[in-house]
Symmetry: C4
Subunit: 194 residues, 4 copies
């Protein structure tokens, strides 16, 4: 099984998911600023999901960078990840169109939690199939910690959505920032604070 | 004729088919659990079709892995397969939106039967063009048997749809499982039972 | 300028065009055979356009197979071709939804004529940039003749649409067949008849 | 980090953006020339945006052609560019559907200004990461000047939209022409005039 084709297929699916989300930003039929302003929640939801899908694309790339053997198991756990990612546009559209109503924010949290779990399964399998699982695992330890923090944050965000949705929103943004900002910068901030 | 470009094009088309299906899961305008629950048949249909398209993508990859010569005939039988695959989102949407009404389940069966026949034609042609057709055919014998079982199941499912649709549904799931579960595991189960 | 990236981009655009056309086959809200039967013109239009886009993809591949230098002119004439190809789904949808009304059939003819002209311009430029333009032109002479027959047929089909649309339809099918059937078979038929 | 995968992903996203724009040209339900004529503003908007996205694709290719190292910063500034490009279909649709109403033309200007700024940031970062930043910068000096002229034109076009939209339209077309016409031809015209 060829790694290139699995990467190309995954890239294609992620590129399409990221782009069809923009179809949820429906062109308004009126030409005033209010009709644009009304789209702000849809726009913010789109921006957030765009960033999350960008993070998955980057991490996916790193994960497959080091491996050479693609087993049938890796193929299917990868498709499992793509399946859950493909549901993000739906959750994004529902949340944006309904101006962050509690249940839609909770579902958005679920829509982020599921691919995170799928990614965890994929990563575990890739590590197992690696020639030097221990060296690989050590290299991905930081990723692992980040992944676990993310899972906790998603679950918190789902629960918080029913009390006060802005807390969920802040959690979604913080997790995204944690993945975007390179590790060295985070370490620097921590060492400066201690 | 370059194999890489045929593979890349096929991957692109399958990636788009698999992703535009999700557009059938229309964002509800209400924010209650009932509106989500009403989408369950659409979601289940999407999941099933996602798995089937994943199976085709995997099998397509295996089929083209061993060959080097792409004739005009292979190009057109491959486009024939992509054409029938491209109709799966339509059948999926019709079945999901109408909560598995008999005629929609039957059409879904037809939508699975047609690419299965197209794949059979493609496989036959690829074997013919192969340098060592006999060795290749032997290696694909298991695939062939699975393909024939699938065809019978699809036809059964189409007929059963008019009597009792759950039987068709079970047949669709069983065929998918037969392709997902690696051959060795199936053999193991059979040898344990005997 | 890298040939691979131009090919990959063109493949991507053609793959998306071919697949979004299927979105024009709208899922009916009723579950009877009549609602399926009503989609027949849409289905036939889709099938025809799918074949035409497949032909363009194959020819595009052959055209770029032999060249190595991509000039700025080739890039833009290639984008010109992709632009006209991207309008085929619109013309297909309009023709299918309106059951082959004369004006829609004429516009479909225009939608086929424009990319044919764009392809002609692209081919002329590619030949010019070729290291051995004469050898290349000779190899593509048959393509050239086919291209000119196609142009005449499209113009005829546009004119005929206002008198008797089935003639236009037959012309569209004949042109498609001329491109699908390999040259050798055509020659064989002609030599048998003479 | 692998350059090929970043290029392939960017190509995929741009190919999808360029193609989903055509979905904004909604198939009319009537079959007369007037219903086609009514689509003219939508068609013109689509053509203009198609050209702009083609320009970005070409420039993106040139920018990444010379580099080998992809840092995390390049990855994210590239995603930033793709994000703003992905909003062009929305602005295109709004402008086309509302027949170039002032506010829609101004927003279209913003939709062109944002990716231009994003491209500027990306280019600056790519130059920094280059092995020979000075040689690279010199080679891209003409691009830089063009980029700065474009930014000024976009801002002018946004302001002019509220006074007389045709001026904005002319500015959009002129900027596009500046990028399409190869530098040598522009130089020739200038040297002939002086």
């Amino acid at each position: 099984m060829n790694k290139t084709r699995l990467e190309a297929f995954s890239d294609g699916v992620i590129a399409i998911i990221i782009t069809i989300m923009v179809l949820e930003i429906k062109v308004p039929h009126t030409t005033d600023l209010d009709s644009l302003y009304a789209l702000l929640p849809v726009f913010i939801s789109y921006l957030l999901s765009f960033i999350y899908l960008g993070i998955y694309w980057g991490n996916h790339h790193h994960l497959f960078h080091a491996i050479s053997k693609i087993t049938s198991g890796v193929l299917w756990t990868n498709l499992n990840l793509l399946f859950w990612l493909s549901l993000i546009p739906f959750a994004t559209g529902w949340m944006g169109e309904n101006h962050f109503a509690p249940i839609t924010v909770a579902l958005y949290g679920v829509a982020l939690l599921m691919p995170a779990l799928a990614y965890y399964i994929l990563q575990t399998l890739v590590v197992k199939n690696h020639l030097h699982p221990e060296a690989f695992e050590q290299a991905h330890q930081k990723q692992n910690v980040k992944g676990q923090i993310s899972l906790v944050c998603y679950i918190l965000a789902i629960a918080m959505a029913f009390y006060y949705t802005p807390i969920s929103g802040i959690l979604f943004v913080l997790v995204a920032l944690m993945w975007i900002i390179p590790d060295k910068n985070i370490e620097k901030v921590f060492s400066e604070n201690n």
